[in-house]
Symmetry: D2
Subunit: 267 residues, 4 copies
């Protein structure tokens, strides 16, 4: 007679028949923290970071449940190295190992870039929030890359109507894009920073602070301007086939945000 913890044949509830006739669109694991490695554009150096990962597949109506432990096994076998090219591999593994038609993944992580202060050249790491989303339906793979970039925004109205000064604040621009070929996180960040009043740095000495203060004052933008500036640049970008850009200003004169959004319809 087996002792209670022995590996005897254990019931497989998940593989039982289901009779409710409801196909499940997505089932899987959510908000699993996982260390990953992403390569830097310029140096191709590995950048270590920590992702929040969600993985899911569809489930036909006649199966009672999916096999949750396989999601983690697949993640273990495909990580830590992670980048846009590896998303299809991970999606195909999910399809195959879970006998699914559709598979989905989301990875969100902070990504660091070394930036030089504009006058002194002092170096510091700035963190950007990145989201990688992938889906496969049969043979069709869909990938969306999203980057959230902190920027300085200075209010054109406040500047125009005031004798001196102008309210400004930290804003966050979130750009989601589909693309042909390759799209780099670094390029999306540059595109967004060029659309704001001024970029944000982690290390600024006094001459740099003077520079960015004046730069912001010379380049006032509403949230409306910010999303339009980004949209114009995305429209001109050869590889971006779809985008959605959102801007949110943590208003320095209010306790709420100003928000704007432009989405380009998928081709």
């Amino acid at each position: 007679m087996p002792t209670k913890h022995e590996k005897t044949t254990l019931a497989d509830c998940q593989s039982q028949q289901d009779h409710r006739r409801i196909r499940i669109d997505k089932v899987g694991v959510k908000d699993l923290r996982y260390p990953i490695i992403v390569r830097d554009k310029k140096t191709q150096e590995p950048r270590h970071t920590v992702a929040i990962v969600s993985l899911a597949v569809d489930l036909p109506e006649h199966f009672k449940g999916t096999h949750m432990s396989r999601f983690v096994e697949i993640l273990n076998s495909c990580c830590p190295e992670m980048n846009i090219e590896r998303i299809p591999i991970l999606l195909r593994e999910l399809q195959k190992k879970l006998h699914a038609e559709a598979a989905h993944l989301t990875l969100e992580f902070p990504y660091f870039i070394e930036k030089q202060a504009p006058v002194t050249g002092a170096k510091g790491l700035v963190d950007y929030h990145v989201k990688l989303e992938g889906s496969v339906y049969g043979n069709d793979i869909d990938v969306v890359l999203t980057v959230t970039v902190p920027v300085t925004t200075l209010c054109p109205c406040s500047k125009a109507i005031s004798e001196y000064g102008a309210h400004n604040q930290r804003g966050y621009v979130t750009l989601a894009a589909r693309f042909a070929g390759m799209l780099w996180i670094e390029d999306m960040i540059s595109l967004i920073e060029a659309s704001a009043s001024a970029p944000i740095y982690s290390l600024l000495k006094r001459p740099d602070e003077k520079f960015v203060t004046e730069q912001a004052y010379e380049n006032p933008v509403f949230v409306e301007d910010l999303v339009r500036n980004v949209a114009v640049r995305c429209n001109e970008h050869a590889d971006i086939t779809w985008y959605k850009v959102e801007a949110e200003n943590m208003e320095s004169i209010h306790n709420h945000s100003a928000y704007a959004c432009v989405e380009k319809p998928a081709e």
Copy 2:
């Protein structure tokens, strides 16, 4: 000569012409905290709560900016009383005062219901997270009501394979619905609670704790079962025309969640 704070004619930057030819889908205020009143189904008593509010309109390509202060003025004029019937009024005000074709609003708030413990009848308030979303495009109004309900879920697999016990945990079911006629928050909550292993209470005495422990053990559900049970009930509901149901289990044996989702295509 006017002193600097006098009300002279101040430049209206927002009304300037814009030449980038980018129409803005949504622009407005986001994450404004606001006290509101929602009526209870049974008693029609006012229930006071605090909402996070976002309001937005579209902006034609030839205008530089919207007028942010009007959003708050419109909210002030329409609140604190808030319910599903008042959403179209608020949306029409946004259209009118901001000369917009489309308008959007989102209110999220905790909503409290007094529940009686199943054996002793002890009373306690349970909080549910509610989201009201409305959009108008020209004359077409679209409203979505979303409720997130905490429940107990007990794992069928763990129960089947173990000599005794079964892992269980708090789960959250989020049901979003479009509907003909009226849909009550209270009815959505009941529908969800009936689909789980057991409901959740804020006040349980020992006989109640015994009851819900055994109730959960007798009604094991995977996240897959949970969303299917809710989907079946929504399919049978006369007034629900569209729904999306998501379930998330804060797994007691893992540090991540199990997740499932079923969406009914809009008719």
Copy 3:
């Protein structure tokens, strides 16, 4: 023979003897959401809001457990009306019903004040985060009132070194205080707002925006200045016997905060 859900005598595990000889400092319920009513200083009107509540008592070393359901019963019996004077009542109830020597409570909630814009007088509600903390040890009651106030801060260095403009941002000042007599939330907010570059409003028309922009430019403060200005005012306040003031600026030129803190030792 009783059916399984009948109210028979159920074991009271909590009252069992414990032999580990470890006294528990605090045991209770945490993060319970609850609707409460707080009175306004000026109008004495009831202000409805939603609190996050934690309640705890100490537990002598010889008892295995506390009785969790009583915390919720005591809250039900003392709420929804809640204010500083009612804290001792709630603490005494906890001591009595749970046979405890020490009892502790924390309530955190948004509190709304109607503010008038500085030039046009336009009215809007601004939300402040309030924390009420109370403890009783035997007969000694200790109460701490904490308010977090959003403000505008404009950087003195940026103003001094730049040809034009100055970076500014939303800052949050958190003031915790012990006091003799009565201390009003409204007075703490005024004290903090007077210490910043400018107050924050929810509704500003263009003449108001001009006013606060110039006001902030005329009153630059570092986080250091902000906490010192508040500290000086607290030192001069007849009823404040202890305080801790913290300021955090959501820097518009960085993706991190500037922070400062001053604490007055308890008398």
Copy 4:
């Protein structure tokens, strides 16, 4: 004449005299995200992760401000390698470069450990939340290491009174400790996991799920038991000189947490 962005002599506001006679306890940067490397106990392999960093110093009453950019420079010079032994080095640098008597740092980060499932030996990474806090006052250095560990907790009362089953849930135990010699994150985690109903894993196959379900049922613990079990183990630990242990159960039958806390007075 210098152009506006040239490096001319720029006013040093921070070094100006202050006359408010208020010494500042802490001033610095807060919530800076930063990639760090922590060594694993067993393998001494570098573990890459991402920290939230706060750094501060005191400021004498006669100085107007600190020099914020130096905090980031010091962090850049001391990181990415980070561990308990390096905290004093970082604190001394803060004292020296900012001419301060006291200096403070806090690093919070997820830390990953590969765990093997109890029956099948399947491997998976589990994430733990770690906080490193250090302070120096003159020559006295104080370091506190805090680890938050997810565990399974099964309710003794629910088990005792129910015919079958017992409610269980994910709990979080937070142990903060001061220590003589060296204290490893891995050892604190083991100490906590041994005090709960069962440890948590990221990858469990069916035989493992059976094992942990039964293990939890055999080892019921209240939050009170959990903190006491940890306290007993800390009291027996040769190197732990002070500790504070908190347990929080995400109750599967309620929408709030059960909480307990024991603190050992510093020696």
